[in-house]
């Protein structure tokens, strides 16, 4: 059964989602069902990662006689859809399943009083399936299909609170951005199909010749994925979507954003890595985009009054760190000495920052959701003195804030330190900007902490209590992960991050379908 694992990874959440609407009004049943399904998929993703890290790339060809039959007998081109799971994909799959699980637990209490929950949980599982399909697939058109699934499910969830006009507005904005981006991806896929008559990522990557038409396709793919992962200048949808979505959906929605980032890396490394001339330029573009993104994001965050909106702008600025880290690595990809010297570490920093950021930003957005659950407002000026009423939320918030500001010994420090160290080798100016951003982040979170949790207790919050247990459990899981990843970064780096980075660097192995053909 182990060889069918990639197919089961996607089939399981789909099965859960298709069953979910049949629960009708049994909201308790459907929430337990969602926790159950997402929990099993966490186990499956751990198994898959173990398999990938020990045995290398896993192939799964849909509809063939054998899962590993890449080429039909006597034929030179792949004809079927295939999944190609390398360590990077497995890394993203772990983040996706883990965050969906945490989100499902959190939602159990957070949206209890709302209606339409059977659709809510169905869409949560569909979002998970969409992300998993995106990160596991080895076929360009399949990537588009799953991109659309994740986009539609995400935007439907953004509009979940349909009694608020802002939610529908944010939803249509997100849907517009994601559908235009996906259409441009489809256009680029069409260009590749017209040139090479195939849709397999590895096959196209092996044959790509980088003429003018391919350059246009690269530009389209780069722009659309950058748009979907919230890089400047198309970052406008991020704060709206993250603010209006119920806090339980924030973790999978963050992973969906970074699945687009994963696709961006996949395009730059796997599809165009054979091209020696222009890759450094692409890397520089990525690094500068990263610096701009982090700086603009953090300056916008400083002036926010809405606590979730403030954190969403920080999400934009943290995306910049990932782009910077991986961009530095991409710049020196064809220079073996520099790559060994700092390129590999830079990429490790960027990739490690993805999972770290997903963990602590989910934690922070969840504490913001807890504040909203208790006080009914998200405006910082109306809160105050909540530290005594909600001790566990306060502690979780402090851990998350320390992690996002890059204070040791939390996980944000580990990845940010790698990025500072390596970007300094490329150009010290990049490091200066990254450090200034970090300081501003700290300042902004000190402000949130002071105005929401400290100060004299307000009268209107007299009889408020701590949030229900499932929400506490979800927050504590993530807080524990923050501390664990911060205390033992080497374990995570060796077991998960460096295999993922090596999978990106050794693109030749991906091109040969893991040595099968």
């Amino acid at each position: 059964m182990i060889e069918h694992l990639p197919a089961l990874m996607v089939a399981l959440p789909l099965f859960g989602a298709f069953i979910a609407p049949l629960f009708k009004k049994h909201y308790k049943g459907v929430s337990i069902w969602a926790i159950f399904i997402t929990g099993i998929s966490v186990v499956l993703s751990l198994l898959l990662t173990k398999e990938v890290v020990t045995n290398g790339i896993i192939m799964y060809v849909f509809g063939a006689d054998k899962p590993t039959l890449v080429l039909p007998s006597g034929y030179v081109v792949p004809i079927r859809i295939m999944f190609e799971v390398d360590a990077m994909g497995a890394f993203m799959a772990i983040s996706a399943t883990l965050m969906s699980f945490v989100g499902a637990i959190y939602s159990y209490s957070h949206v209890k009083k709302d209606t339409g929950l059977e659709k809510y949980y169905a869409l949560l599982m569909l979002l998970e399936a969409g992300i998993l399909g995106m990160v596991l697939t080895g076929d360009l058109f399949n990537l588009f299909v799953f991109l659309e699934i994740a986009g539609i499910a995400g935007s439907a969830l953004v509009g979940f609170r349909n009694y608020r006009g802002e939610a529908s507005e944010a939803g249509i904005k997100y849907l517009m951005v994601s559908s235009v981006a996906s259409l441009m991806v489809l256009f680029a896929v069409g260009i590749f199909y017209g040139q090479y008559g195939n849709l397999n990522l590895a096959y196209i990557a092996k044959n790509v010749s980088f003429n003018m038409v391919d350059m246009i396709a690269l530009g389209l793919l780069f722009a659309s994925f950058a748009m979907k992962c919230g890089a400047v200048p198309m970052h406008y949808w991020v704060p709206d979507a993250y603010t209006e979505v119920p806090a339980g959906i924030n973790p999978p929605l963050l992973v969906a954003t970074y699945a687009s980032l994963y696709a961006l890396f996949r395009v730059s490394f796997t599809l165009f890595a054979n091209v020696v001339i222009d890759l450094a330029r692409v890397g520089w573009i990525m690094s500068i985009l990263g610096v701009l993104t982090m700086f603009i994001g953090v300056t916008m965050a400083l002036i926010q009054k809405d606590v979730k909106r403030l954190m969403s702008y920080h999400a934009i600025s943290q995306t910049g760190y990932m782009l910077l880290g991986v961009g530095v690595g991409l710049t020196v990809l064809h220079d073996p000495s520099k790559l060994a010297e700092f390129g590999r570490d830079a990429m490790a920093g960027g990739v490690f920052h993805i999972i770290n950021h997903i963990i602590y930003k989910s934690l922070l957005l969840m504490t913001a959701g807890a504040l909203f659950y208790v006080t009914g407002t998200r405006n910082l000026n109306e809160m105050g003195g909540l530290a005594r009423k909600m001790p566990i939320t306060t502690i979780s918030f402090m851990i998350g804030a320390a992690a996002i500001s890059g204070l040791p010994p939390f996980n944000g420090f580990a990845s940010k330190f790698l990025i500072y160290e390596t970007s300094y080798r490329l150009n010290p100016l990049l490091t200066v900007f990254a450090m200034v951003t970090s300081v501003l982040t700290l300042a902004s979170f000190v402000k949130v902490f002071a105005s929401a949790f400290l100060g004299p207790p307000l009268e209107k919050f007299e009889n408020k209590r701590e949030v229900p247990k499932p929400m506490i459990v979800a927050m504590l899981i993530l807080a524990a992960l923050c501390i664990l990843f911060g205390l033992f970064p080497n374990v995570v780096l060796d077991k998960l991050v460096y295999p993922a980075v090596d999978a990106l660097i050794n693109f030749a192995q991906y091109h040969s379908w893991g040595g099968l053909a």
Partner: protein, 121 residues
């Protein structure tokens, strides 16, 4: 260059449609018109993919009661399959966008994108 302009006429039409779609998305104020713009983009991309599969003088790739000369001279089937998929996806996206538009109209009483914008800064 002159020759390729006429040879690639379908691709030129695709470019025109794409331009029209982006214009509609960027410069129209009515939300329904913006949705129509996304639909035009969808149509342009679908047409592009179908046009890629055409073979000069080809027949439909279906063997049921096909004419004798069709064997070995069929147009490429993959683009048609891809287009089918992408049409259904387009329908899904449009339905959800219109549902959001209905909600927005119910809340704000207008569909003008410059006036519904409450989320700022």
């Amino acid at each position: 260059m002159n020759g390729s302009l006429f040879v690639n006429f379908p691709f030129i039409v695709v470019a025109l449609l794409l331009a029209l779609g982006f214009y509609t998305i960027g410069f129209k104020r009515n939300l329904i018109k913006v949705v129509i713009g996304v639909e035009i983009l969808e149509g342009a991309v679908n047409m592009f993919i179908v046009a890629l599969g055409y073979v000069k003088g080809g027949y439909a790739p279906i063997y049921t009661q096909a004419p004798q000369e069709a064997v070995g001279k069929m147009v490429l089937p993959t683009p048609q399959a891809l287009t089918l998929t992408s049409i259904v996806i387009g329908v899904a996206v449009t339905a959800l966008m219109l549902a959001f538009a209905v909600n927005i109209y119910r809340h704000y009483g207008t569909l003008d994108v410059t006036r519904v914008r409450r989320l700022r800064g």
